[in-house]
Subunit: 475 residues, 2 copies
Amino acid sequence: MAEQDHSLPTGVLEALAAIVGEAHLRLGEKIRELDVGEDPNNLGASALVSPASTAEVAAVVALCGRYGVPIVTHGGRTGLVGGGTSSPGEVVLSTRRMNRIERLDPDERVAVVEAGCGLQALQEAALPHRLDPGIDLAARGTATIGGMISTNAGGIMAFRNGVMRHRVLGLEAVLPDGSIYSDLTRVVKNAAGYDLKHLLIGAEGTLGIVTRAALKLEPLPAAHAVALFGFPSVAAALATLRRALAAGVGQLRAAEAMWASYFHHVARHFNWSAPGFDMSQAVYVILSLGGADEESLQEELAAILVDLQCDHPQITAVLAGSLAQEQAIWRLREESGVIYRDHPDAPSFDVSVPLSELDAYVNRITAGLAAIEEGLAPFVFGHLADGNLHIMLNRSAEATSAPVLAAVEGVLYDNIRALGGSFSAEHGVGSKRIHALYATADPVKLRLMQSVKQTLDPAGILNPGKVVDVSRLPG
Amino acid sequence: MAEQDHSLPTGVLEALAAIVGEAHLRLGEKIRELDVGEDPNNLGASALVSPASTAEVAAVVALCGRYGVPIVTHGGRTGLVGGGTSSPGEVVLSTRRMNRIERLDPDERVAVVEAGCGLQALQEAALPHRLDPGIDLAARGTATIGGMISTNAGGIMAFRNGVMRHRVLGLEAVLPDGSIYSDLTRVVKNAAGYDLKHLLIGAEGTLGIVTRAALKLEPLPAAHAVALFGFPSVAAALATLRRALAAGVGQLRAAEAMWASYFHHVARHFNWSAPGFDMSQAVYVILSLGGADEESLQEELAAILVDLQCDHPQITAVLAGSLAQEQAIWRLREESGVIYRDHPDAPSFDVSVPLSELDAYVNRITAGLAAIEEGLAPFVFGHLADGNLHIMLNRSAEATSAPVLAAVEGVLYDNIRALGGSFSAEHGVGSKRIHALYATADPVKLRLMQSVKQTLDPAGILNPGKVVDVSRLPG
């Protein structure tokens, strides 16, 4: 046993080691050796345990409850809003060792996995059955299913398949009192009382620790085809989206949008261009169709272009004719991190806006940011079909003062709930967005959130300081 | 004002009339003039109010809370498990007057409706935009959106589009304290704190009264084609289902199954047969494909048959070549009520079973019922792709003694949760299935349900005696 950490009560470390085995308890510098992930404060805890089973998780939670030691649960540490930050006196519970795919039944189209199973691992296991988890995101190699459930992850297919909440058929979780909530149903229809798993989904580890889940899988088309479209207006992009959603051949699987300033930045970075593709458009959208064979899907993409050019002759498009071309197009959207090279740690945001409000919203925030400071502007990209915009400032974190940041949030979040949108589309609340939640949410909802937190976790053992602020009166 | 009903506290009726207007308050026999719906005890209340707005609903709830008068909310009264039964001393709140479609935006693919809006009314309003609520069920003409949300309705497209819970983007509801929970977001991605609308969805009016909702709409295919298949085995039916889910042309929109005894009963009733269609099969399934044009969809259905006949040469099928043929096929499945002609009020059940367990389940319950009493047998039909089986006894309610009924439930619900299924797929719990919930549910879940009910509705104002039994200790 390593030296005692005085920020934890005497006896806790020995008891934790007895539960998970000494090899699976890390202390001090041994914690800091791990990959810290997307937030520099993820690994501030006094101890990190890696249980191997639901029973071990339950024992850890019961133990920490007895000693009053808070627990922060970690999956892949890909969260962007500080949902996994930890401090001395806290214990991090990593689901890393609980990564099994316990069942994958092609007739049921259901997978049962442990929380630490990676998204890509599940995608790869489902592939031979021509099935797919129905949800995909850029962090697929690192993000875990448990983390995606706890943050209600979204990604690029949410407009078709829903967000993580809609993929979960059954759930097992350890509650703050150490009891095990066991609802591993593998059916989509279940009207057997309150569906309390939805309290745990998206609660970012504040109401329970997800240990296992049954997930719905989707048939994976045999072929796909990808095109990049350039549009003179958001209206033209939306008209094309409607046409693509009603495709006669195949199904739309992605509609990823990039507004001009973002697009030009990444295209320049990757030195991307294509013969005949007009780079002076207002919005660019990657459309991906899935279906039975590639040739007919490419013909359908070409037909979409022809159909839409009747009303919008300026529309331009390039079809990916090879895997290399396809990857080069996708890179423009997925490698948004290149913005950070010019603007280190540029403040970034993640909002949802109903599609009818999209154009006005982007215009309004563009004007609003310019009014805060000359030259301040947003890079805007995201998921067109569900109105989820990712917004990065053209300004490093260091160069953005606190008052400017507050003014930016004021512009971005102004009236967003009344508009029918959300200040947090898929990144959650974590520790960094609590102020935005309390600034924008319905006070009745905030009050109910606090009641629920206090009912389930009266001692505040699970992920304190995240999502909900029990000390705060909403209003 | 009619004569005072002594089962209500003095002053309540006057106050209710002041809120909704005297014309919208019914008492005594005036209540019994209404269509009682699916349960003879729906209209036992002392008063029935029909508010016109969320504000009026909130005022009614606050008033009843002050007087301690329970409220039972009614939509279309199509519930099958007694979720809407009411007694003297209670007030029924009908959403009948709150039936507006407030918004239907084809670009957003979102509708915002009041709770009393009927499913068919919404389907008809969406049709000109080639959109659809994405959920359908036989009671479409009567069922309301609010009722469907409160019971988390399922229907025939749940395998593709999810159940009602998955269709709701935003929700407004009146909570038991009379406050208004307002979360009418119109986006699918919303990670802004606990998603508490899921507490209200499927709670059958015990935690709040749904007043408005924003619903996701789906593109409606231009054409569809329907075929009835006959299969020698469930395995052959499931293999065909997998092939149909991966259809190269069009998308599967329905896969409705009928086991032999049910099928033969209804086919005989409607005098249905088709040339060359072999009626000696074990399972019959209606497959419906939607897509761009009918001819190619019919070709795809024919191709599915040919593909599957390689492994299962006995498979038989008939394609609907006309609307009349299509309707005749659908009638076999949707007019399940004809069973009642021979077996009045035959006890019926509604379970979900994972697809890999389907065949064994039906075989087990068939044997189990026969072991209870000679000749006792199930009529089985339902939604193949999501494992939702409807089961009716070949026995009138009158001829089924309480001990036999209990033995039947013992057989049907035995081990169903451990199997990964549910004793209630889409009909809910209501007042009639509470014993089954408490017999099959995880005790941790039951305890949490009771905590949630007590947190939200400590006085037990909303729909008491339904879903959750606060007086009961689970275990």
